[in-house]
Symmetry: D2
Subunit: 472 residues, 4 copies
């Protein structure tokens, strides 16, 4: 039984922070205390650093076909980047194809992960596209017990991923009754289709029209609708990538009405605006993700909601397309640009610098937003997302004084640009352990075969028991 002692760091959980030591044994946390001097195989000196639970990123799109191409990171390259950014668990979106059995979609996605083994632990959500299949509702009902408690519904992308209200209600009913959680991409795809058609008809083909054809009202309407429909059939709801004040107000209202609703935002909505879409020479194409970037006022509203407890998580929505040869598919027509942007590695450092460093929220709140909150919401807690005896020893030693300049030249994703190119941050990931094993050391991946596992998650509202042989 290998043991590791992490000494002298500031241990931070979503509950608070305290100087102390950690003893890791058999991949799990064995002891938390002060002045531990147990013998250990390895000792990590963490003086001057934070010791955080590994971050959980429940919103990634690896090796995903979309818009006639495929995201450029596979499960290996994407998760190596994740690990370097302090993320030790991702939950990726497996997408059903029309006519495909749900289980079949999961089989295919697991194959991708077997072909390109992940460097961090991996779970799957299931994106529902088609419920008009024999047995689809029965399959859906079983999923939470089979380790896939969260499903995704797209209210946007008409003609592709979008489902109608009937399908939403049907899926939500089954999910709500069987330990599932519904996630929604909330934009009114029908309205947007008209706005895009009108814009193109006026010759508005450049990237900046991506924003004008998806105004905040289209997001707010869909957000409110999703909340009402979920409430109608008693299904807990999680709204992904909230981008603007108007949508946030709908989340607030739903919550005030007593509905079970949670929501996330993503770094791109905190750091880019619609102005970036107008960058010259098709550079704006880099910023075509959905919902589009908004205004500085929306950014402030989102920061305030993160601090004030009105948003529950920050995830990456990592959906990487190369600028050189993928984004350019839409060089003459913004509606053909594959929608999505990269960010699986930068989340923790950005939020640390601009959130904690700028005094917007505390370190424990940071941990809540990137680790504990997502772990709890997606059936991973308390095995993941916390530092407590018995929990997986997924740990990040974060050096708050280390300076780092974000750049595509140094990041670990395969994508050829960064939304945060040149951003200078103070504070960076130093070491990362996955179930006790070092996977990042001094900011770079540790050599060797990727050791991530595929996770079976707990139904919504349930705890994921710690692994057998644990301390308790």
């Amino acid at each position: 039984m290998t043991t590791t002692l992490i000494q002298g760091g500031l241990i931070v959980t979503s509950q608070g922070e305290a100087h102390g030591d950690l003893l890791v044994a058999d991949g799990r946390i064995a002891l938390v205390g002060g002045g531990l001097d147990e013998a250990a195989d390895t000792v990590i000196h963490a003086e001057g650093c934070y010791v955080l639970p590994g971050a959980v990123d429940p919103h990634t799109h690896l090796e995903m076909p979309f818009g006639g191409t495929t995201t450029i990171d596979d499960f290996t390259s994407g998760t190596v980047a994740a690990a370097c950014g302090g993320t030790t668990t991702i939950v990726d979106f497996c997408l059903q194809e029309p006519g495909q059995a749900l289980g079949e979609a999961l089989v295919r996605w697991r194959e991708k992960a077997h072909r390109c083994p992940p460097a961090v632990d991996v779970g799957f959500h299931l994106g529902i596209v088609d419920l008009d299949l024999d047995g689809a509702l029965d399959e859906l009902a079983r999923l939470p017990q089979e380790g896939v408690p969260s499903l995704k519904l797209f209210m946007a992308y008409k003609g592709a991923l979008m489902v109608d209200d009937e399908t939403m209600v049907r899926a939500m009913r089954v999910a709500g009754a069987n330990g599932g959680l519904a996630m929604v991409h909330a934009e009114n795809g029908g309205a947007i289709a008209v706005l895009i058609e009108e814009a193109l008809g006026r010759g508005e083909t450049e990237p900046r029209y991506h924003a004008t054809t998806r105004p905040p009202a289209t997001e707010a309407e869909a957000t409110g609708r999703a909340i009402e429909l979920a409430a109608l059939v008693d299904c807990p709801l999680y709204v992904v990538h909230v981008s603007c004040e108007e949508a946030l107000a709908e989340v607030d209202a739903g919550r005030a009405a007593g509905h079970q609703v949670w929501a996330e935002t993503c770094p791109q909505y905190l750091f880019t605006t619609a102005e970036d879409l107008a960058r010259p020479g098709f550079e704006g194409g880099k910023y075509v993700f959905t919902p589009p970037p908004r205004t500085p006022a929306d950014q402030e509203a989102l920061w305030g909601a993160l601090a004030g407890g009105r948003l529950d998580a920050v995830t990456s929505d990592h959906c990487p397309f190369r600028w050189a040869d993928q984004k350019t598919l839409g060089e003459d027509d913004f509606s053909k640009i594959p929608n999505g942007g990269p960010g699986i590695e930068e989340r923790l450092a950005l939020l640390h610098h601009f959130g904690v460093g700028a005094g917007r929220f505390s370190l424990p709140r940071l941990v809540e937003l990137v680790s504990t909150g997502p772990a709890r919401m997606f059936g991973l807690h308390p095995r993941k997302g916390t530092i407590a005896p018995g929990a997986d020893a997924d740990l990040v030693v974060f050096d708050p004084a280390r300076r780092h300049t974000i750049s595509a030249a140094t990041h670990h994703s395969r994508v050829d640009y960064s939304l945060y190119e040149g951003f200078e941050v103070v504070g960076a990931v130093r070491d990362v352990l996955l179930r006790g094993n070092p996977i990042v050391r001094d900011g770079e991946p540790v050599e060797g075969p990727p050791g991530g596992e595929l996770l079976s998650r707990a139904p919504f509202g349930s705890s994921l028991p710690i692994r057998d042989g644990g301390a308790a």
Copy 2:
């Protein structure tokens, strides 16, 4: 030039009331004043009575195919009933069939009115079902200039009349830009389809499940959505048959946000509740209209909104199916009951007795709700809906002391039941003039050929000029 002098009544407009006399000449109002003693061909003594502008009913369904059958009143029988209730103008819903040119639908509806000539003046709204036709949007753009400024969109009746959000936005954009007004039947048809399927699956087949499968949230969600979509494309919006507090709150919110939104309710929502659907022996089937009747609390909310200016009109939604052989189509399955109820004749007397008589609102407010408001909203004012020089002499002499018991035995519609059977009201229509011609005398239709005309209405927000040769 025929002249009529109406003497000694209390002249009531939406602005106020005053004792006075009216001189009618050439079908129009010539003079309004006190102590008129002009010579006239006819003198009507109105002492002790109210003289009101003829009521306008912008929500009727005459000879309309629906649910495998056809409403039982044609343009003659329906409008005779309307006239007896003090209504001198109706605007009926012409419905497009899938694949049918819009103009063709209007041609067919006009044919119905030619075949069975109406006793009151008649305009048409156009119910849009299908915009995927060559030229449909161009046709839609021309309609307001061609006398049909209002279109109807159904968010309910999935698989039949329901349109998706894309069609709604497309239609609203064209309407808003061309002097049109969008009307919506706001219920989430997709969600309701699931609830009905679930209910039938549980063996819930009786009429009372019509209400449980259309809960207030399904109406509120659609109401809010319609308002947001209309605002998105700058289209004025009119929400038909608001039935519950939750939907009313959405109208309030839309208005507070500065959107152009108006709304009506109907007598059935003021006088019946979901309890009526549970009447024994399939009598509940009589109360199957959509949205369904709600609760006493909703009734109170609607009355309050009528008094407080938060609802703009009361219309009949007259959609008559015989109980004996039409409603019974759904004796074993509530979802097969043709949706709709009668009421074209009772509106004015019910609102007078229970609204004005009960102290809920004033006489001028009554006139606003049943006449002036609808006339203004639907491009008929100031030719209709008011008492002023030049306006059409559509006039009601209403006797506030006359007692009347509502009954299917005495009403003038062909339908075989009344939602208000046995209701006793004080106050009833005595005489009605249509453009100066007597069409109801002492409560009963005047013999002779029906004299109603088909009206070409003004674009939204415009006035309908008074007829040529007028006073001004």
Copy 3:
């Protein structure tokens, strides 16, 4: 019996507009019709002009002591200015002094009007300052029956006019139960006192700090509170001079909750902003009125609310202090500047040009906002505020083509500046009749003794009967 025939104008009421003629007899409207050719003592040719009901201004402060000085217009000078602007009735604020019986305050105010006879008709509201007097509540209860149905409560001006919540509730209870209407100046005087003290402590003494020490939240809070307290004791409420979006939102919310609440704004909030307070050389002092001018966004919100029916009236809040020797009392300390600005003459022309002319609302809506609405709200309708047989012949012939430049050099108030100096408007008052008598001709006052009367108004919700000997 003198008669006047007004021929060929466009007669505009709040209900609509139509070309027609009016016969005035015995000070009242006798006939409304087309092509009238009755013999008359006087004929006014109104071709190309609008004929409007005389405007009603329910918010004036004539010869009022305030802040150590007295408003510069007395009942003669102020009402001559009003008449020139098309206003034929004002309701002025009579203010109780501490310890003074309510009736005594009214006696004093009537004395002022006797000393300086008014050119238009005049009613009084009563501003309540002190209810701790024997018999005060009984007096208050009788006021609505004695012609004074509206009372005013100040939530601002701590140490001067401000009353506490207990006094408000007590007054509202009595008013609500006895046909009274409560009016509130809604600003949190306590909070403002602290903000002023803090500002002065920082050496912020210039006029622009008048705005920073009265932020929108202080108005919104008081507005919401007034609505809740009035609702608690069933008293109808009218909120004066709404200046900002936040307060407007409170009015919306109150209305949506079913409370009886109405609200006005004033031209100064539509045409000036906080920037004006920063004009150089103490010119900013001209713009010190309360609430202070706000932002362009607030202006837009107010215009939208006027168009959309969320505000019910536009009044002047004419409260004139000379710049030269009254405003300068606060040259070294903004809190000593007498609060108030002039505007009794400009209201109709400004709203016509920038409201109707700019397409923001219609002519009938203009009439509603400046005449019919206030008349109805303050117990003057249908004697005032409309054009109908029997109503007082208070009429304005308004020439929509006449150009006018607003200036202190030409206005009729005694004040030495105009908030709208140099504004060019198209459309101006030509002639004004008060109860049939010409008081303004071709834009200038008619010579002769002022003929205004003191009015006894009707209780809230009641009509003010037309005068004896009337047509009906």
Copy 4:
């Protein structure tokens, strides 16, 4: 250095639960882990039990003069009762008297605690009554640095504790700028004074009129006002004893607007209703506390808000008056009944049984509501409110299977009745440690001198460092 080992319990924090062992040394938690077998002076076997952080009760009124009498529990009797209920820290309300320096009030309150030494740790809030004293604002500014970071403002009790808005704003400004937190008792005292006077005038003297004269609107209005005033001057706000849906909605709205606002409710609002006030024979007098008990619908709303994160704490508002000789002061006039009820001992057991046991929320949520949340809010965390190395070893061993019947016959307060008389709960406190020392064993107080300390708390938003000599 004394050590204690707690073995085999389910360790519950606000973050989660896990089986494990705790080593306590020197009054603080030394180790948290699994399978600890360190030698220890004492071993507590906690198999089958929960090990919780000691509860924190930030709302008590011990030995407080009020309404002409004094609460019946002193610091000894009250805290013994607290300890028996699992509470190891209280924060009591020290009240300034008019004219008294703030520091002097604190001196007096500390004297009470010295005279009757407490059994648990004790901090003080300061209730501000009068700021019109030389130096009062300076004193107020220093308090957060001197261990008293929270002040209380009463918006009710006109003529006694109530402060006006100016005082509130002044106090909030100073608090917000200096690390203070404002707490408000939110009821409109002025409005209530009128309603009470009216009720007594009608002869309504019985306890049930305590509720009718304090309707929800009076609480909601004050809640909204407090939030707006605090936001105006950037002061964090904590609303005590929220009792009804309407007030809750104001808290929701404030939070949605981005303001720093938190709120608590108390067990009496979850378990009693206005019906209890009508119990026969003056028994209703027992239920006279403020705000009054409300309706079952309000109870449900509060439970939902506790579960959904919209309320942040449950406190006792223990304010004990004997029924026999104190409550009876108001036997003939409800307004003379001393306002307040007992409950310092029952909080944890009630919330465990009816909250966790009934499935309304989880064990970690329970810990958040009664311990971690209050500790964090009131400057006690992470020394109090959590189980982590270095924290004070304030621990509760709670037996979830132990049955207990609540009764005044067995509770430890001196008061002669219980609001929960006869309630049967499953789950009770077994053992309690205060800084490692046993103070309750098997449900009863341990003999010996009380060992509570007076606490100096941290400014708002700051952590309270763990004690010297700690593990980290």
